[in-house]
């Protein structure tokens, strides 16, 4: 947790941020703390309040209660000072279908009164080049594919040098190639010091590009911190591959672990057991000690693995499995 970090070091900070729609609470008293310079993953299943939170952060909707500060200034009071320094992609791209890609970017650029009309053409050209849309600049957006629109949306966020980028589901609709490009684009922006706030329901995406993450579930912020912190909370597992599954299980039980056997057809079965985080009684806690015990117990060890818990397990543990979206 970064609760002790001073407000100056936070690109986004919220306290008790709440949004109610009538009776329903969409976002429930969340305290976000996004450090400057981080790539911050905002995770959560569909309907968990991610986009509603982002809309409040950007001043599109009013919070029912709570405070927001973006780039050190209170929102939405300082909206006109803050937003020119923020690039955003909110809930999918949206454009004028009868205008070309370049004309759409010029149109949205005129809306920012800090944007110089002298450099507009160059900036539009550069932004299009950055997302690989130069060849389609003159084509009407109506003829764009979803992936191209998504790229154009990212180009719009990059029309100015930004201190903070808010990207809501940036890889939605992109092919694997495009996904990889977005990831490397985010990394290169972060390397130049831009804070990137990415919302996603794709864990792999967050795991690959983020330094920090927060997890939303049913409108609540259920976890927040560095990626390492989040993973650390999860369980580490030891996995043994052996034809002597029963013997291995006995040895592990003797060591104070709770083994589970999983059979793989045509191969040796795996025996796995969660490792307690703290060294427990009777066990040194060192994996090599487990191997020694197994071997001296006559178990033929053909494979041995220490598995860090993945973010996915942590995510599922926090938000529940399957399609039962919390309301």
């Amino acid at each position: 947790m970064t609760a002790t970090t001073s407000a100056l070091d936070l690109a986004i900070e919220s306290r008790g941020l709440t949004k109610r729609f009538g009776e329903q609470i969409a976002v429930n008293e969340i305290d976000l703390a996004v450090p400057r310079g981080s790539v911050f993953g905002f995770l959560g299943p569909n309907g968990s309040g991610k986009t509603t939170s982002i809309r409040m952060l950007l001043g599109l909707t009013q919070a029912s209660s709570g405070q927001i500060s973006v780039l050190g200034q209170s929102m939405p009071d300082s909206l006109h000072d803050v937003l020119p320094r923020v690039g955003a992609l909110v809930e999918g791209p949206a454009f004028y279908p009868f205008l070309s890609g370049a004309a759409n970017l010029r149109r949205l650029d005129t809306a920012d009164r800090n944007a110089s009309s002298r450099t507009r053409g160059d900036r539009v050209e550069q932004a299009l080049a950055r997302v690989g849309l130069t060849h389609a600049a003159g084509k009407k957006v109506a003829a764009y594919s979803l992936g191209m629109k998504q790229r154009l949306g990212i180009a719009n966020a990059l029309l100015q040098p930004r201190e903070l980028l808010v990207l809501d589901e940036p890889t939605n609709g992109l092919d694997p190639q495009g996904t990889r490009e977005v990831r490397s684009l985010v990394r290169s922006l972060a390397a130049k010091g831009t804070t990137v706030f990415v919302s996603s329901h794709l864990l792999a995406e967050v795991e690959q590009m983020c330094t920090h993450a927060a997890v939303m579930s049913g409108g609540n912020l259920v976890a927040q911190g560095t990626l390492a912190d989040l993973r650390h909370v999860g369980q580490t597992k030891v996995r043994v591959r052996t034809p002597d599954a029963a013997a291995a299980a006995a040895v592990l039980t003797h060591l104070g672990l709770t083994p589970v056997q999983s059979d793989v057809p045509g191969q040796d079965p795996w025996v796995s057991a969660p490792l307690p985080r703290e060294t427990s009684v009777g066990l040194t806690g060192q994996p090599e000690a487990i191997v020694t015990a197994l071997v001296s117990g006559g178990v033929r060890v053909r494979g041995f693995l220490i598995e860090e818990s993945s973010l996915e397990e942590r995510f599922v543990a926090l938000t529940g499995e399957g399609f039962d979206v919390l309301q």
Binding site: R55, L58, G59, L60, T61, Q62, L71, L79, H80, D81, L83, P84, R85, V86, A88, V90, E91, G92, P93, A94, F95, Y96, P97, F98, L99, A103, R106, R107, L108, D109, T110, A111, D112, R113, N114, A115, S116, S117, N156, Q160, P161, E163
Partner: protein, 283 residues
């Protein structure tokens, strides 16, 4: 880039956004289709009069229609009278109803606001766009009417309602003045359309509601039982431009009309501001 760098950059007064608004408006095929349809009104009217053998006695058909065969310049005035009650409000309802609701329905509203366009600035620019369309629509009527009139009928000095005769150039100037008068007459209605547009994310709904308002108000305007209300209805002076066809020009109705429209702009502008400045943008 630091914030001090940004704030030292030139702050444009919003003219860029207005320019872009007009570009978007006039790059739409819909806008041009409406202007072409407006131009067809005087054309159809003139062709129908030219082809018919009957001579109209004064008082038949819309005002000025009987004069068209003698002087083509009257085509524009007649077309104006025909288009004002229904066709002009219809096209303006489409443009005004689309202002905010259209951007919301399309999703571009959130990107304009995040840019940040500023909500008040965006409303002002949108309203200015509708006002420009009002002017474009009435000028289209006047220009198309004058051209087709000159093509099909003789053109000469115009005899005014007061019996005085004015030259062709002066009559063209009066045409321009009448276009301005009609544009001003429509500005209050345009403000109502802007307000309705802030109420919904469905542009078609806002357009239909705006047109319905104009129809209802015109019905109220002809009920004698409501005569006390008539001076307050935005459509009350819509056909009052005939006063500009007298010598000397009677500008009092122009002034009353402008004042009334200003009142509507103030009231519905304030309502639109009240609604839009705090609206949750969920589209």
């Amino acid at each position: 880039m630091s914030s001090s760098n940004l704030s030292s950059m030139r702050r444009s007064a919003g003219l860029d956004l207005l320019g872009s608004e007009l570009t978007v408006l006039f790059r739409r095929r819909r806008t041009w289709a409406m202007l072409v349809a407006i131009a067809l009104i005087p054309v159809l009217l003139a062709v129908a009069v030219r082809l018919s053998s009957e001579t109209l006695s004064p008082g038949d058909g819309p005002p000025f229609l009987d004069r068209v065969t003698q002087n083509g310049l009257f085509v524009a005035f007649t077309a104006m009278i025909v288009a004002i009650p229904l066709f002009l409000p219809l096209t303006i309802g489409v443009v005004a109803g689309d202002t905010i609701a259209g951007e919301a329905g399309q999703g571009t509203l959130r990107y304009l606001l995040v840019a940040p366009a500023g909500r008040v600035r965006l409303l002002l620019v949108k309203y200015a766009g509708v006002a420009v369309f009002c002017l474009a629509a009435t000028l289209t009527l006047a220009v198309a009417g004058t051209l087709i009139g000159a093509a099909l009928f003789p053109v000469g000095p115009v005899t005014l309602l007061s019996g005085d005769v004015i030259s062709v150039p002066e009559s063209l100037m009066r045409s321009g003045l009448i276009s301005l008068y009609v544009t001003v007459s429509l500005l209050g209605f345009a403000a109502i359309g802007l307000f309705i547009s802030t109420l919904t994310d469905v542009p078609v709904g806002a357009m239909a509601a705006t047109v319905v308002v104009s129809v209802v108000v015109q019905i109220l305007d002809v009920l004698p039982q409501l005569s006390w209300l008539h001076p307050w209805l935005f459509s009350h002076y819509w056909l009052g431009f005939a006063d500009l066809l007298r010598q000397p020009m009677d500008l009092s109705s122009f002034g009353d009309n402008a004042l009334l429209q200003l009142g509507y702009i103030a009231v519905f502008g304030a309502l639109a501001y009240g609604r839009f400045s705090t609206k949750d943008i969920l589209s």
